[in-house]
Amino acid sequence: MSYLVRLFLVSVFIPLFSTDLTAAKVEVDPGTWGHPAGEKCVSCHQKASAGLTAQWQQSAHAKAGVNCMDCHRAEAGEVDAREHEGEVIATIVSPRDCGRCHKVEQEQQQGSVHAEAVALIEDRLPAFVQNLTGPAVLATGCAQCHGSRVQVRGDGTLDVATWPNSGIGRVNPDGSKGSCSSCHGRHRFSRAQAREPEACVRCHSGPDSPDKDIFEASKHGMAFAAQRAEMNLESAQWVAGKDYTAAPTCATCHMGAAGKLPSTHDVGMRNAWKLNSPVSEKEHLVVFQGGDKRELPESVPPPRRDSELAKTDGSMGRVSQVATPERRRQAMTLVCLECHGKGFATAFMSQFDSLVELFNDKFAKPARGIMAELYSRKLLTPTPFDEPIEFTYWELWHDEGARARHGAAMASPNHTWWEGMYLVGSKFYGQFLPQVRALAGTAAEEILSAQLGKDDQHAWLREPNRPYPILGTFPFPAAEKSP
């Protein structure tokens, strides 16, 4: 890419996405940390909880003189404040607490798809937690990735149904959202650990987003495994193309600084597509004055600067900036360009887009349309998951459908095909359509032809006499041949 194009892109992204070129340095006066009472904690905690104390002692925090009280101190009036050995502290160190020093990171993180991870699944919880399983799964399953709404009881204890929790979108007693320790394991807060793909695996695994597996099965993962020693993971500054060139990790593409592209703690910022949805759509990222964010489908015209728009919580906000899907894609592509040519990167993105569109057009939209029709004709009850086809539909988009799209996004052929689109096809033709026919009976043909009839991609179903050798060569009876 020419220097001018790069300059243009950088001038567009820097003001929007960060205030600094690399990971933001803490710009707080060192005199503000080193709480006098914090020194006293260590002697006892060395004995009472030697592990966490040793982790802190190895941390950059300890070396800089940041002690227990600098992070855990609280005002008596705070909801979760409690007395401990004569001091007032809070167990939970929230992003707001970390933001006392790490201001830029906190601002970027607030409003990100990570910080909003609770809202993302809340409308699914009644079906999954109340009906399909039971409340115990919320604390141990859902909320451990998405985050809990931490409740402080009147006796000052943290409600055990909501704590311990380090879900990425945890709603903290102080109202802030997120848990920095979700990726930056306490109490060492190792840079290297957060840059490893392992930092993401606790949640980016499983049927809908096996992203660590996808990464490992890709050329990127192959390079990382082979050249891990050259990753410079402990380096204070970690700019792709400058401080390391061996391989990218999850953090490199989704958050990391690359060339002149600044790093960001808004992990979804560079994603043009919303992949984990029944039908994928590209999305605008809207930044409100004051820093709140929301996403809007590409089909909606982007709101103008200074216009009013509802935020995710329903309150009204004033639009500060909008990143269109193209600009988000450009940001991601800037990372690619540190190792790939522009043509290569654009072509890769186009292959990825085609797969998403294939899933959307051939399977996702018709399946969604068919389900809507079944509900409106009362062939299905409104309660989710009390009929087998509801599981089929859910898994079609949420499991194999998402897996295929993630596989294409991150270049794992196996996840795109065998773990993804192959299963989408087999489930769609082998389970979903037969279930529709069984449910709809005589109305089935009408429903199916309305959704599939126009699409040539399903025309093969109308040609039952075209053999391929894939299942072996079977002798076909002469009667089957045209007379």
Partner: protein, 210 residues
């Protein structure tokens, strides 16, 4: 006083008075000892329905069910050792008795729970004032071993200037936050939820004259 005048002093009435005095004094002391002993017992303390709530949490605590078979009774923690100090503590306890008769209806579990924090704060202040003397009447700092080696080290190295109660509160009875961080509103809400009462009931109950 010379010998003869001393003899003159020991008249029959004096002798009788002395005998009565000594016997009466000894009797009183014996009475107080027995009285303090009886009024420190679990049976006496939990005789009031109001105290049954405190007894409930106590019965779940290790001070009631210790693996060694030693059981601390109410008075072992809440009444000072020594007949005069114990008598003094019991005399002071009369105010609780007056509150029981003329104050809020502590027999009501909701009223009891609503007033619990202030009772806890008072009890903690008392322990602090005594420098946790009643704890120390059983527990010897230098003999504390614990299940982990760290427990012994912490009690050896980290306890200077501290009294047992500074760390070991919320040990026996229902959890109450420290006074510094206590939030009446949140406590009321918790009790309302626990007893399925309409929001605001707690404040009304606390405001009512009894």
């Amino acid at each position: 006083m010379n010998r003869s005048s001393f003899r003159g002093f020991i008249t029959r009435p004096v002798l009788i008075a002395l005998v009565i005095g000594i016997c009466g004094g000894a009797g009183s002391i014996l009475f107080l000892l027995e009285f303090d002993h009886y009024t420190s017992s679990n049976a006496f303390c939990t005789g009031c329905h109001s105290m049954s709530f405190a007894a409930e949490s106590y019965r779940r605590s290790v001070h009631y069910n210790s693996p060694s078979g030693v059981r601390a009774e109410c008075g072992d923690c809440h009444v000072s050792k020594g007949v005069f100090a114990a008598t003094w503590d019991h005399t002071m306890g009369i105010k609780d008795l007056l509150k029981q008769f003329f104050g809020p209806n502590y027999e009501d579990p909701v009223i009891n729970a609503l007033h619990l924090p202030e009772a806890a704060f008072a009890a903690r202040a008392w322990f602090r004032k005594q420098d946790s003397a009643t704890c120390k009447s059983c527990h010897e700092l230098s003999a504390i071993q614990g299940k982990r080696p760290d427990t012994q080290a912490i009690h050896r190295d980290e306890t200077k200037g501290k009294s047992c109660i500074d760390c070991h509160y919320n040990l026996v009875h229902r959890q109450v936050p420290d006074e510094k961080t206590f939030k009446r509103e949140a406590w009321n809400r918790m009790i309302e939820e626990e007893f399925k009462l309409a929001p605001g009931t707690a404040a009304k109950l606390l405001g009512e004259k009894h």
